[in-house]
Protein backbone atom coordinates (compact mmCIF):
# COMPACT_ATOMS: atom_id res chain seq x y z
CA UNK A 1 0.00 0.00 0.00
CA UNK A 2 2.80 2.30 0.99
CA UNK A 3 4.61 1.44 -2.25
CA UNK A 4 1.52 2.33 -4.29
CA UNK A 5 1.13 5.73 -2.67
CA UNK A 6 4.80 6.46 -3.18
CA UNK A 7 4.44 5.51 -6.83
CA UNK A 8 1.34 7.72 -7.16
CA UNK A 9 3.19 10.65 -5.59
CA UNK A 10 6.16 10.16 -7.88
CA UNK A 11 3.86 9.95 -10.91
CA UNK A 12 2.01 13.10 -9.83
CA UNK A 13 5.31 14.91 -9.43
CA UNK A 14 6.45 13.75 -12.85
CA UNK A 15 3.22 14.88 -14.52
CA UNK A 16 3.34 18.22 -12.72
CA UNK A 17 6.85 18.67 -14.02
CA UNK A 18 5.67 17.95 -17.55
CA UNK A 19 2.86 20.45 -17.22
CA UNK A 20 5.16 23.26 -16.09
CA UNK A 21 5.64 25.36 -19.16
CA UNK A 22 8.87 27.16 -19.90
CA UNK A 23 8.45 30.92 -20.26
CA UNK A 24 8.21 31.80 -23.93
CA UNK A 25 11.30 33.32 -25.41
CA UNK A 26 11.37 36.64 -27.14
CA UNK A 27 9.55 39.89 -27.45
CA UNK A 28 7.04 40.50 -30.21
CA UNK A 29 7.89 44.18 -30.28
CA UNK A 30 11.63 43.80 -30.16
CA UNK A 31 12.49 45.59 -33.43
CA UNK A 32 9.74 48.22 -32.99
CA UNK A 33 11.97 50.70 -31.15
CA UNK A 34 13.99 51.24 -34.30
CA UNK A 35 13.22 54.51 -36.08
CA UNK A 36 15.25 55.68 -39.06
CA UNK A 37 16.68 59.15 -38.47
CA UNK A 38 16.15 58.89 -34.69
CA UNK A 39 17.55 55.79 -33.01
CA UNK A 40 21.18 56.01 -31.95
CA UNK A 41 23.79 53.28 -31.97
CA UNK A 42 23.95 53.48 -28.16
CA UNK A 43 20.21 52.79 -27.85
CA UNK A 44 20.60 49.79 -30.11
CA UNK A 45 23.47 48.45 -28.01
CA UNK A 46 21.41 48.88 -24.84
CA UNK A 47 18.39 47.06 -26.25
CA UNK A 48 20.02 44.36 -28.34
CA UNK A 49 23.53 43.92 -26.92
CA UNK A 50 26.52 42.91 -28.97
CA UNK A 51 25.90 42.62 -32.72
CA UNK A 52 26.90 39.47 -34.57
CA UNK A 53 28.53 41.46 -37.37
CA UNK A 54 30.14 44.90 -37.76
CA UNK A 55 30.97 46.34 -41.16
CA UNK A 56 32.18 49.60 -42.69
CA UNK A 57 33.79 50.82 -39.44
CA UNK A 58 30.69 49.87 -37.48
CA UNK A 59 28.38 51.94 -39.67
CA UNK A 60 26.61 48.68 -40.47
CA UNK A 61 25.64 46.38 -37.60
CA UNK A 62 23.87 43.06 -37.96
CA UNK A 63 21.95 40.99 -35.46
CA UNK A 64 20.60 37.47 -35.79
CA UNK A 65 17.10 37.04 -34.44
CA UNK A 66 15.37 33.84 -33.47
CA UNK A 67 11.59 33.60 -33.62
CA UNK A 68 9.07 32.03 -31.26
CA UNK A 69 5.84 31.42 -33.21
CA UNK A 70 3.66 31.02 -30.09
CA UNK A 71 4.09 34.64 -29.03
CA UNK A 72 5.60 35.89 -32.29
CA UNK A 73 8.59 36.89 -30.20
CA UNK A 74 12.00 37.83 -31.52
CA UNK A 75 15.18 37.22 -29.57
CA UNK A 76 18.84 37.82 -30.30
CA UNK A 77 20.87 34.74 -31.25
CA UNK A 78 24.66 34.46 -31.34
CA UNK A 79 26.42 33.65 -34.58
CA UNK A 80 27.41 29.98 -34.71
CA UNK A 81 29.97 29.04 -37.32
CA UNK A 82 31.42 25.75 -38.44
CA UNK A 83 35.17 25.21 -38.88
CA UNK A 84 34.89 25.86 -42.63
CA UNK A 85 33.82 29.39 -41.76
CA UNK A 86 30.17 29.11 -42.81
CA UNK A 87 27.60 29.75 -40.10
CA UNK A 88 24.44 27.83 -39.42
CA UNK A 89 21.04 29.56 -39.37
CA UNK A 90 19.39 26.72 -37.44
CA UNK A 91 18.46 28.90 -34.48
CA UNK A 92 18.07 32.23 -36.23
CA UNK A 93 15.25 33.05 -38.58
CA UNK A 94 15.78 36.73 -39.27
CA UNK A 95 18.70 39.01 -39.89
CA UNK A 96 18.39 42.56 -38.67
CA UNK A 97 20.57 44.96 -40.63
CA UNK A 98 21.14 48.47 -39.27
CA UNK A 99 22.87 51.17 -41.29
CA UNK A 100 24.04 54.22 -39.33
CA UNK A 101 25.23 57.61 -40.53
CA UNK A 102 28.56 59.10 -39.46
CA UNK A 103 26.92 60.58 -36.35
CA UNK A 104 25.78 57.16 -35.17
CA UNK A 105 22.10 57.73 -35.98
CA UNK A 106 20.14 54.97 -37.70
CA UNK A 107 19.78 55.79 -41.38
CA UNK A 108 18.11 52.61 -42.67
CA UNK A 109 17.22 49.21 -41.33
CA UNK A 110 15.72 46.01 -42.57
CA UNK A 111 14.52 42.78 -41.02
CA UNK A 112 15.26 40.04 -43.54
CA UNK A 113 13.73 36.57 -43.29
CA UNK A 114 16.71 34.34 -43.86
CA UNK A 115 15.57 30.84 -42.89
Amino acid sequence: MKGKSLFAMALAGFLAGCATSQPLKGNANLPDFLADGKTSRAEVALKLGQPSGRFERENILTYRLGFEPKNKGHFVVEREARPEGWPTWLHARYSLVLVFDDNGVLRKHSLVEVN
Binding site: N59, A81, W86, V99, V112, N115
Partner: protein
Protein backbone atom coordinates in the same frame (compact mmCIF):
# COMPACT_ATOMS: atom_id res chain seq x y z
CA UNK B 1 35.44 21.99 -56.37
CA UNK B 2 33.47 24.68 -58.09
CA UNK B 3 31.21 23.03 -60.61
CA UNK B 4 28.81 25.68 -61.71
CA UNK B 5 29.06 29.38 -62.01
CA UNK B 6 26.62 32.05 -62.93
CA UNK B 7 28.07 35.47 -63.18
CA UNK B 8 26.24 38.77 -63.30
CA UNK B 9 28.97 41.29 -63.72
CA UNK B 10 28.82 44.61 -65.47
CA UNK B 11 29.35 42.95 -68.85
CA UNK B 12 26.59 40.39 -68.53
CA UNK B 13 24.19 43.02 -67.25
CA UNK B 14 24.97 45.15 -70.23
CA UNK B 15 24.50 42.13 -72.48
CA UNK B 16 21.14 41.43 -70.87
CA UNK B 17 20.09 45.04 -71.32
CA UNK B 18 20.95 44.81 -75.01
CA UNK B 19 18.84 41.67 -75.28
CA UNK B 20 21.87 39.51 -75.93
CA UNK B 21 20.36 36.04 -76.36
CA UNK B 22 23.40 34.16 -75.08
CA UNK B 23 23.59 36.27 -71.95
CA UNK B 24 19.93 35.71 -71.13
CA UNK B 25 20.13 31.99 -71.86
CA UNK B 26 22.95 31.60 -69.33
CA UNK B 27 20.66 32.91 -66.60
CA UNK B 28 17.52 31.04 -67.56
CA UNK B 29 18.93 27.61 -68.27
CA UNK B 30 20.59 27.21 -64.87
CA UNK B 31 18.63 24.45 -63.09
CA UNK B 32 20.51 24.99 -59.85
CA UNK B 33 17.45 25.93 -57.77
CA UNK B 34 16.38 22.26 -57.74
CA UNK B 35 15.93 20.62 -54.34
CA UNK B 36 14.80 22.02 -51.03
CA UNK B 37 16.60 23.98 -48.36
CA UNK B 38 18.26 21.86 -45.68
CA UNK B 39 17.16 24.25 -42.91
CA UNK B 40 20.74 24.57 -41.65
CA UNK B 41 21.84 27.38 -43.96
CA UNK B 42 20.14 30.50 -45.26
CA UNK B 43 17.12 29.99 -47.51
CA UNK B 44 16.86 33.42 -49.11
CA UNK B 45 19.22 32.89 -52.03
CA UNK B 46 17.43 32.33 -55.32
CA UNK B 47 18.55 31.99 -58.89
CA UNK B 48 17.34 35.50 -59.61
CA UNK B 49 18.96 37.05 -56.52
CA UNK B 50 21.98 38.55 -58.33
CA UNK B 51 19.62 40.42 -60.66
CA UNK B 52 18.38 42.51 -57.73
CA UNK B 53 21.70 44.32 -57.74
CA UNK B 54 23.24 46.73 -60.19
CA UNK B 55 27.02 46.82 -60.54
CA UNK B 56 28.32 50.33 -60.08
CA UNK B 57 25.19 51.41 -58.19
CA UNK B 58 24.29 48.96 -55.45
CA UNK B 59 26.31 49.53 -52.29
CA UNK B 60 27.54 47.08 -49.68
CA UNK B 61 24.81 48.32 -47.36
CA UNK B 62 22.26 47.81 -50.15
CA UNK B 63 23.22 44.15 -50.54
CA UNK B 64 23.03 43.59 -46.79
CA UNK B 65 19.68 45.37 -46.45
CA UNK B 66 18.32 43.04 -49.14
CA UNK B 67 19.90 39.72 -48.14
CA UNK B 68 20.73 40.18 -44.47
CA UNK B 69 23.96 39.55 -42.61
CA UNK B 70 26.50 37.86 -44.89
CA UNK B 71 27.73 34.39 -44.02
CA UNK B 72 31.34 35.35 -44.64
CA UNK B 73 33.35 38.44 -45.42
CA UNK B 74 36.87 38.97 -46.67
CA UNK B 75 39.22 40.72 -44.22
CA UNK B 76 39.03 43.99 -46.20
CA UNK B 77 35.24 43.69 -46.71
CA UNK B 78 35.87 43.68 -50.47
CA UNK B 79 33.79 40.52 -50.78
CA UNK B 80 30.67 39.29 -49.02
CA UNK B 81 29.72 35.63 -49.19
CA UNK B 82 26.24 34.12 -48.81
CA UNK B 83 25.59 30.38 -48.68
CA UNK B 84 22.54 28.19 -49.09
CA UNK B 85 22.35 24.41 -48.84
CA UNK B 86 19.84 22.41 -50.88
CA UNK B 87 18.98 18.74 -50.47
CA UNK B 88 18.89 17.26 -53.96
CA UNK B 89 18.52 13.57 -53.18
CA UNK B 90 18.75 10.80 -50.64
CA UNK B 91 20.92 7.71 -50.33
CA UNK B 92 20.59 4.53 -48.34
CA UNK B 93 23.01 1.66 -47.89
CA UNK B 94 21.95 -1.38 -45.97
CA UNK B 95 20.12 -4.61 -45.92
CA UNK B 96 18.36 -6.82 -43.44
CA UNK B 97 18.77 -5.53 -39.94
CA UNK B 98 19.83 -1.99 -40.60
CA UNK B 99 21.68 0.47 -42.71
CA UNK B 100 22.75 4.05 -43.04
CA UNK B 101 21.09 6.89 -44.88
CA UNK B 102 21.96 10.41 -45.84
CA UNK B 103 21.33 13.19 -48.29
CA UNK B 104 23.00 14.56 -51.38
CA UNK B 105 23.48 18.24 -50.70
CA UNK B 106 24.40 21.01 -52.98
CA UNK B 107 25.89 24.23 -51.64
CA UNK B 108 25.25 27.44 -53.49
CA UNK B 109 27.16 30.63 -52.89
CA UNK B 110 26.62 34.20 -53.84
CA UNK B 111 29.81 36.22 -53.79
CA UNK B 112 29.32 39.98 -54.02
CA UNK B 113 32.45 41.89 -54.81
CA UNK B 114 32.88 45.62 -54.11
CA UNK B 115 35.27 48.35 -55.18
CA UNK B 116 37.14 50.66 -52.82
CA UNK B 117 34.06 52.95 -52.55
CA UNK B 118 31.88 50.04 -51.48
CA UNK B 119 29.98 49.82 -54.80
CA UNK B 120 29.17 46.47 -56.33
CA UNK B 121 31.59 45.26 -59.00
CA UNK B 122 29.85 41.95 -59.58
CA UNK B 123 27.62 39.38 -57.94
CA UNK B 124 28.49 35.83 -58.82
CA UNK B 125 26.76 32.53 -58.12
CA UNK B 126 28.78 29.39 -57.46
CA UNK B 127 27.79 25.87 -56.55
CA UNK B 128 29.52 22.80 -55.16
CA UNK B 129 28.41 19.20 -54.57
CA UNK B 130 29.38 16.98 -51.69
CA UNK B 131 30.37 19.29 -48.90
CA UNK B 132 31.04 22.92 -48.38
CA UNK B 133 33.99 24.74 -49.82
CA UNK B 134 35.63 26.67 -46.97
CA UNK B 135 34.52 30.29 -46.82
CA UNK B 136 38.08 31.49 -47.16
CA UNK B 137 38.51 29.56 -50.42
CA UNK B 138 35.24 30.88 -51.85
CA UNK B 139 36.15 34.46 -51.02
CA UNK B 140 39.75 34.33 -52.20
CA UNK B 141 38.99 33.15 -55.73
CA UNK B 142 40.45 35.50 -58.36
CA UNK B 143 38.60 38.80 -58.25
CA UNK B 144 37.71 41.31 -60.90
CA UNK B 145 40.09 43.96 -62.12
CA UNK B 146 38.34 46.75 -60.22
CA UNK B 147 38.28 44.97 -56.91
CA UNK B 148 40.47 45.87 -53.96
CA UNK B 149 40.08 42.39 -52.54
CA UNK B 150 42.95 40.66 -54.31
CA UNK B 151 45.61 43.19 -53.50
CA UNK B 152 44.52 43.38 -49.85
CA UNK B 153 44.38 39.61 -49.52
CA UNK B 154 47.84 39.34 -51.02
CA UNK B 155 49.12 41.91 -48.55
CA UNK B 156 47.92 39.84 -45.61
CA UNK B 157 50.76 37.92 -44.05
CA UNK B 158 50.39 34.15 -44.20
CA UNK B 159 50.73 32.29 -40.90
CA UNK B 160 53.92 30.27 -40.44
CA UNK B 161 51.94 27.58 -38.65
CA UNK B 162 48.17 27.16 -38.43
CA UNK B 163 46.20 24.62 -36.40
CA UNK B 164 42.55 24.22 -35.42
CA UNK B 165 42.34 24.68 -31.67
CA UNK B 166 40.15 25.47 -28.71
CA UNK B 167 41.22 28.45 -26.62
CA UNK B 168 40.75 28.59 -22.86
CA UNK B 169 41.71 32.08 -21.67
CA UNK B 170 42.68 32.28 -18.00
CA UNK B 171 43.06 28.52 -17.74
CA UNK B 172 46.40 27.15 -16.53
CA UNK B 173 46.44 23.61 -17.89
CA UNK B 174 43.83 21.87 -15.77
CA UNK B 175 43.52 24.68 -13.23
CA UNK B 176 41.12 25.94 -11.92
CA UNK B 177 39.21 22.84 -10.93
CA UNK B 178 37.00 21.55 -13.71
CA UNK B 179 39.12 23.13 -16.42
CA UNK B 180 39.97 19.72 -17.88
CA UNK B 181 36.43 19.33 -19.10
CA UNK B 182 35.93 22.91 -20.31
CA UNK B 183 35.21 22.95 -24.03
CA UNK B 184 36.99 26.23 -24.85
CA UNK B 185 36.33 28.50 -27.78
CA UNK B 186 36.69 26.80 -31.15
CA UNK B 187 38.82 28.48 -33.78
CA UNK B 188 42.25 28.56 -35.37
CA UNK B 189 45.62 29.17 -33.82
CA UNK B 190 47.91 31.13 -36.11
CA UNK B 191 51.62 31.43 -35.49
CA UNK B 192 52.51 34.60 -37.35
CA UNK B 193 55.91 36.16 -37.78
CA UNK B 194 55.81 38.11 -34.52
CA UNK B 195 52.55 37.14 -32.80
CA UNK B 196 50.54 34.19 -31.63
CA UNK B 197 47.00 34.82 -32.87
CA UNK B 198 43.72 33.06 -32.15
CA UNK B 199 40.77 33.58 -34.46
CA UNK B 200 37.41 32.23 -33.32
CA UNK B 201 35.28 30.21 -35.76
CA UNK B 202 32.33 32.40 -34.87
CA UNK B 203 33.89 35.71 -35.81
CA UNK B 204 33.89 37.40 -39.17
CA UNK B 205 37.17 37.72 -41.02
CA UNK B 206 37.00 41.53 -40.79
CA UNK B 207 36.94 41.43 -36.97
CA UNK B 208 40.01 41.70 -34.76
CA UNK B 209 41.33 38.32 -33.56
CA UNK B 210 40.24 37.14 -30.14
CA UNK B 211 43.88 36.97 -29.07
CA UNK B 212 47.03 38.61 -30.39
CA UNK B 213 49.97 37.77 -28.16
CA UNK B 214 53.40 39.00 -29.30
CA UNK B 215 56.10 36.35 -28.85
CA UNK B 216 58.06 38.98 -26.93
CA UNK B 217 55.26 39.01 -24.32
CA UNK B 218 55.40 35.23 -23.74
CA UNK B 219 57.43 34.06 -20.76
CA UNK B 220 56.90 30.30 -20.89
CA UNK B 221 55.34 27.55 -22.93
CA UNK B 222 54.61 24.03 -21.75
CA UNK B 223 52.51 21.03 -22.71
CA UNK B 224 50.48 19.39 -19.93
CA UNK B 225 49.12 15.87 -19.96
CA UNK B 226 45.45 15.59 -19.13
CA UNK B 227 42.58 13.18 -19.52
CA UNK B 228 42.03 13.45 -23.27
CA UNK B 229 45.55 14.20 -24.38
CA UNK B 230 47.86 17.20 -24.22
CA UNK B 231 47.09 20.83 -23.50
CA UNK B 232 49.34 23.69 -24.52
CA UNK B 233 49.82 26.33 -21.81
CA UNK B 234 51.23 29.78 -22.56
CA UNK B 235 52.13 32.29 -19.85
CA UNK B 236 52.32 35.98 -20.67
CA UNK B 237 54.54 38.65 -19.23
CA UNK B 238 51.55 40.43 -17.68
CA UNK B 239 50.63 37.38 -15.58
CA UNK B 240 48.03 36.26 -18.11
CA UNK B 241 47.72 32.60 -18.96
CA UNK B 242 46.14 30.88 -21.96
CA UNK B 243 45.55 27.20 -22.56
CA UNK B 244 44.88 25.62 -25.93
CA UNK B 245 43.61 22.23 -26.97
CA UNK B 246 45.36 21.92 -30.31
CA UNK B 247 43.24 19.74 -32.58
CA UNK B 248 44.01 17.30 -35.35
CA UNK B 249 43.57 18.10 -39.04
CA UNK B 250 39.81 17.44 -38.96
CA UNK B 251 39.41 19.84 -36.05
CA UNK B 252 37.57 17.37 -33.84
CA UNK B 253 39.85 15.87 -31.19
CA UNK B 254 42.94 17.14 -29.37
CA UNK B 255 46.06 15.93 -31.11
CA UNK B 256 49.31 15.30 -29.26
CA UNK B 257 51.54 15.80 -32.29
CA UNK B 258 49.81 19.07 -33.19
CA UNK B 259 50.23 20.39 -29.63
CA UNK B 260 53.90 19.44 -29.61
CA UNK B 261 54.42 21.07 -33.01
CA UNK B 262 52.99 24.40 -31.82
CA UNK B 263 54.91 24.17 -28.53
CA UNK B 264 58.12 23.49 -30.45
CA UNK B 265 57.50 26.48 -32.71
CA UNK B 266 56.82 28.78 -29.77
CA UNK B 267 59.86 27.54 -27.83
CA UNK B 268 62.04 28.23 -30.83
CA UNK B 269 60.63 31.76 -31.04
CA UNK B 270 61.23 32.35 -27.32
CA UNK B 271 64.81 31.20 -27.65
CA UNK B 272 65.35 33.25 -30.77
Amino acid sequence: MVQRRQSLGANSLAAGARGDAAGLRAGLSDPSDAGFDSGKARANLKKQTPKQFTPGQTTRAGVMLALGEPDAVSPDEGKLGYRSEKVCGFWFIGGQGGGVAGTFNKDRYLVAEFDAEGRLVKAERLATWAGSTPAKAVLTRPAGANSTAVSSAARQAAPLLEKPARWLPGVNGCEPRGAASMPGEAGRMLCMDTDLVFVSNGQFANAAPGLTLPYSAITSVRVDKYVFGRRLVVHGRGGDVHSFDVLGPKGRAPDKQAALAVAGFLQARLNH
